[in-house]
């Protein structure tokens, strides 16, 4: 597998007088086509880390490599072409006055000819199921719809990596599910690598690998199954307990013995019905 993002020993302080750096000696890499989730409590440096990847933040020391290019002043715009970011607040990242203008914004920046732009805008809107809203103004869209437009804006740019910086945290459950589904579909169709920063358990569960951050340091790394089997400790990591874990905890309180390793919802159902039929 080819590496698409590699961070080596990144350290960053927002302010020279800060006692504790926002990022301390962080290293990790993401392979092509992977979906990696970064979790951690508030203030653990997750968002700072995301901004380092496309050069919105210039680290004090360490190296960032994206798609084989070293991040420096010369390469920063080519790297930004490869990395698409969706931010938290759907209102504050909507630049255009209508949906189609917003999707076109990134293409305009790249100087794409108008005819091609029209095709790409329509295609991208079609992919996120927002084509019929093309003429709408942002004030008349729901939060989830605005985030889907933000995703379309990135899909139109055809990047290699999509970063979701708590992109679903301000949405209702329905909007959250909508956006996640869209990201999954787009990822499969366009063979993207996804890096999602999240507190949402479902979003973390969708990942192939989870990285856990705390106090600016990377403290854990593993598959969702490994991370979720930490049980109660997950809350400290800034995540909710997955539903099967919560069920196991309640069953334990009732004096029932439960398996120690993490089970998905289906796994839990299997375990439950086999144990009941054995009784």
């Amino acid at each position: 597998m080819t590496e698409i993002i590699r961070l080596d020993n990144i350290t960053y302080k927002y302010d020279d007088e800060d006692q504790r750096p926002a990022l301390q000696d962080v290293s990790f890499s993401i392979n092509k086509g992977e979906w990696v989730a970064i979790i951690g409590p508030n203030g653990s440096g997750k968002s700072t880390l995301a901004k380092t990847i496309n050069g919105l933040i210039d680290p004090d020391s360490g190296e960032v490599k994206v798609g084989g290019l070293m991040l420096n002043e010369k390469n920063v715009w080519s790297i930004r072409e490869m990395v698409g970011m969706v931010f938290q607040n759907p209102d504050n990242q909507f630049v255009g006055s209508t949906v189609q203008d917003d999707v076109a914004f990134g293409l305009e920046n790249l100087g794409i000819p108008r005819d091609e732009m029209i095709d790409r805008v329509r295609n991208a809107l079609d992919k996120v199921n927002m084509l019929e809203f093309a003429e709408r103004e942002p004030a008349r869209l729901s939060g989830g719809q605005k985030q889907r437009v933000a995703i379309a804006g990135i899909v139109a740019l055809r990047p290699a990596i999509m970063i979701l910086d708590e992109a679903t945290s301000m949405l209702d459950p329905q909007g959250r599910e909508e956006v996640l589904r869209t990201v999954k579909e787009v990822k499969e169709e366009e063979h993207l690598s996804v890096l999602s920063i999240t507190h949402d358990i479902d979003e973390a569960a969708a990942a192939t690998r989870i990285l856990v951050m705390k106090d600016g340091k990377m403290i854990q790394e593993g598959s969702p199954e490994t991370i979720f089997s930490y049980g109660e400790q997950l809350v400290e990591m800034g995540l909710d307990l997955p539903f099967p874990e919560r069920l196991k905890a309640s069953l334990k309180k009732q004096g029932l013995s439960v398996p120690d390793d993490y089970l998905t919802e289906e796994g839990m159902v299997d375990w439950l019905w086999t144990s009941i039929s054995r009784m």
């Binding site: 970011m85 255009g96 189609q100 203008d101 100087g111 108008r114 740019l157």
Partner: protein, 265 residues
């Protein structure tokens, strides 16, 4: 809050005027405001009124909207008209009471001023009701383009305008939210004397400012992440298209101007 603001509101439609190029409408409205000052007798005002009413009819928008556009300014208009009537000296005096003189010329002047105000408001209302704010910014950008030669940052002005317009409804919503939140904590808006009213505005204004700063920062980050590096080397998604209709409207305006010159005394 939004419903009361007729000014600057756009009403979607598919009339002849709706389909005109925004540049035509903007230039037309500006040109109209200039030439209305040429009108100085009955016959020329009749021509102008007929022209504006025809334009209103062509928009296919309920005339009520136009009347509503005049309403907020009616006191200002009446005030000016009364001043004109009372303080224009003339030959044919109809009524005299101490220093107050009402002459035929004064009355006529008053009526003309009234018509001038109403026609200008009607014309600008036609512009705003039939043109999307966005197209209007495109038109402004186009018309400002010659000034780029004297170092006017045309692209930046256009970008600021379109971002400002896009955030108007968002900020309106937020204003209302903050107002309600502050009301829930016991602040009375619009009550008491002027000093108290001003003081009540502070808990609205400061959070609004602070949140605008945050918004601006987040927006700037998002723009940069999407590859925005200034006006240079950008292409445009929106394009204005000049058609035969637009030329026809321009010709009509030219004819109207000539007519006014002929009718002028």
């Amino acid at each position: 809050m939004m419903d009361k603001l007729i000014f600057g509101r756009y009403i979607p439609g598919d009339s002849l005027i709706h389909r005109l190029d925004p540049r035509t409408k903007l230039l037309g409205a500006i040109w109209f405001i200039i030439i209305i000052f040429l009108a100085n007798n009955w016959i020329s005002y009749v021509a102008m009124v007929a022209f504006v009413l025809a334009a209103v009819k062509l928009t296919q928008i309920n005339p009520k909207f136009f009347i509503n556009g005049v309403k907020p300014l009616i006191w200002l208009i009446l005030f000016t008209v009364v001043l004109q009537i009372l303080f224009t000296s003339g030959q044919t005096i109809w009524f005299r009471f101490g220093p107050v003189v009402i002459s035929e010329e004064g009355l006529l002047n008053g009526v003309f001023i009234f018509l001038r105000f109403v026609l200008i408001i009607f014309m600008s209302t036609i512009l705003t009701l039939t043109t999307m704010p966005l197209s209007l910014t495109d038109a402004i950008e186009f018309l400002l383009r010659p000034f780029a030669a004297i170092k006017l940052p045309v692209h930046e002005i256009a970008l600021m305008l379109s971002i400002a317009l896009r955030f108007v409804p968002t900020l309106m919503d937020e204003t209302e939210k903050i107002m309600n939140a502050q009301r829930a904590r016991g602040i009375d808006f619009g009550e008491g004397n002027i000093y108290e009213q001003m003081k009540a505005i502070v808990p609205l204004l400061i959070p609004l400012f602070v949140s605008s700063f945050n918004r601006a920062e987040e927006l700037a980050t998002a723009m940069e992440a999407r590859g925005y590096k200034g006006g240079e080397g950008r292409t445009k998604y929106r394009q204005l298209a000049w058609s035969g209709r637009d030329t026809a409207v321009m010709v009509t305006f030219a004819l109207l101007s000539v007519l006014l010159f002929v009718l002028r005394t």
